[in-house]
Subunit: 364 residues, 2 copies
């Protein structure tokens, strides 16, 4: 008997009821029937939660991200509060760069600031590799989290090569990515060398998390929506594919679904899927049924309630949650999420009601 | 004899060789044969030019925009320097709001800051109308410019209702537009009332410029790419259409092509065309041949070289200019432009070479 299902066989133990492998989130990612539509929120851990602000206190972001007990606590907070179907590792896109020894800091109100922007061949040559041991605090946090979370999957997290490149080449957040694009368009060889290095760093950072027990990963390409599709395919996709393929090839005795998301990527959805994603995250600009038509039936989708809608009265939120679920039925698997991260001023009670509503409307 | 051409008959005098009506820019906008592909740059007047910084001196942006001699000088600077095929009125999106009496300022490094954000029905009721007399300095600048520019068209300029609404509701520039969307999704009646008022202000602001002699107009919707297409059609398009239709209906004895542009609008191109645009501006994420397929043959396109590419070596810039021109041949009319505004750090000499290259490659 043949089946179109792509998953390799799993042991009975791994798929036991109540296990991570049997969770709604991993089932949806594998395009299997679900007990309810799983839901989590990008940036669910963080500034929108009072308990986060209390836990962080005066600790800097980079300190917090390398303190296992703090990562564990902050990652668990939204799971406790909302009953979401997945935990996302509390981290920052630049954590693996910092861990590898690149001189940068995260400036509150600004974002990452890189001491020496990467612009020349010598700069690229001098970029360090990431050694597994350098992110041992992250591995420790993941092990603790997996122990605490029980049947709720922990989603590992890394920035994608293009977004890492933009931070390093610009020296910080950028509206236009002009130095990054100058390298990409003007010196393709140097660009490839940079992206090769960053893909290895991202792959290593995810490998650490998967080996420590992460049940899924999300490769987050914040800025890649700044590229047309042809340039994405030529200059970015091979490097994102390296990262996602590395995760797929890890011999850890279980399937680890790969979620891939970027903002403003309506033009890129099919190509991001083809980079090796099991699940394509969709931003709020493209309805999930449209997205599914672009991506095809071989991938689940994640998304995509506009986080700004959470500032409207509940009736409007509820209508949009229903519409998102309806559109998601066109996909062979749907993980409910926002179409972008939680806005810090969001009322946590509204997020809680969204989780309950999604569960209530989709319970089988 | 019937013709598919939408233009009303023009007098022989108006279409005389060397006249604005016979210019490459207006011919391309009307989808007629052109002597060469016309080119201008969004934000061609402004911070990228040393002569602009000298002319502005310590004058605030809002003062500058209401000083006819300064508007005239700054608008003419890039025409003199680059030989572009169109002048764009030097202004700011919030100028008509300020002129109508709304308390706001433009803070350097931040953007517009509105003293009292518009959130309630009382706020919307209290919004003033714009009287033609309140923008007489702009009308005077336009008259002076038309006198100076000879056969080069002056493109009038206004922010579109959605973008005006975002500034007023958020109180300034916003990453997520959460208060704007909360009103749009949560209180559609109030939203319509706000957009009706802003559409009248934008329409009046363009009417002033057209009556004073502007040869074309650009309705600029900076932030509308933050909306999915269905929401655009329901909550924005009718109001943008009011503005564009008002311009079309002005009895000024000549055709005034309407250009309509927004950033990140790949999902909205067909709907923005249908709002009443003769020319649809396309940002750099969607190639012009793709854009033309979405928009259809009844509209010219404008764009769409990525302004960040101007930071790459000339060989890369030249290749991209050629690709943009090639893709633009799919459209029934093409006005060459950037896919977003000039980045302030751009080297003016590169812009000059782009103008010369476009003219050289397309001369008939």
């Amino acid at each position: 008997m043949t089946t179109s299902h792509p998953a390799p066989p799993q042991s009975a133990e791994q798929r036991a009821p109540g296990s991570v492998q049997d969770s709604a989130l991993l089932r949806a990612a594998r395009r299997e029937p679900v007990p309810h539509t799983p839901v989590w929120f990008m940036r669910q851990a963080g500034r929108s939660l009072p308990e986060y602000l209390q836990a962080r206190g005066d600790t800097t972001m980079l300190q917090a991200c390398s303190t296992p007990d703090l990562v564990t606590e902050i990652t668990l907070q939204p799971v406790r509060r909302y009953g979401v179907d997945g935990a996302i590792l509390f981290s920052d896109i630049v954590v693996p760069l910092h861990a590898a020894g690149i001189d940068l800091e995260i400036v509150p109100g600004t974002g990452p600031v890189v001491a020496h922007p990467i612009r020349t061949a010598a700069d690229v040559d001098a970029l360090p590799e990431l050694d597994l041991a350098q992110v041992e605090p992250v591995a420790q946090a993941v092990r603790q989290l997996v122990g605490e979370l029980g049947g709720t999957p922990l989603i590992g997290f890394s920035g994608a090569p293009f977004t890492l490149a933009s931070y390093l080449v610009e020296g910080g957040p950028s509206r236009n990515h002009e130095h990054t694009k100058a390298m990409l368009y003007g010196d393709p060889g140097l660009w490839r060398a940079l992206m090769d290095k960053l893909a290895r760093i991202a792959a290593t950072f995810l490998e650490v998390q998967v080996r420590a027990g992460a049940g899924a990963v999300q490769l987050f390409d914040s800025w890649v929506g700044a590229l047309p599709a042809a340039d994405y395919r030529a200059a970015v996709q091979p490097h994102s594919r390296f990262v996602l393929d590395t995760v797929a090839a890890l011999d850890v005795g279980r399937q680890v679904p790969r979620i891939h998301f970027g903002v403003g990527t309506g033009e890129l959805l099919a190509d991001m899927a083809a980079a090796g994603a099991d699940v394509v995250g969709v931003d709020f600009r493209v309805p999930l049924d449209d997205a599914t038509r672009r991506i095809g039936p071989a991938h689940a989708v994640q998304g995509n309630l506009d986080p700004a809608i959470l500032f409207a009265p509940w009736e409007a939120v509820e209508r949009r949650v229903r519409e998102t679920l309806d559109a998601g039925r066109a996909a062979p698997g749907h993980i409910f999420n926002l179409g972008h991260g939680v806005i810090p001023a969001t009322d946590p009670d509204v997020l809680h009601r969204v989780v309950d509503l999604v569960h209530e409307l989709t319970a089988q």
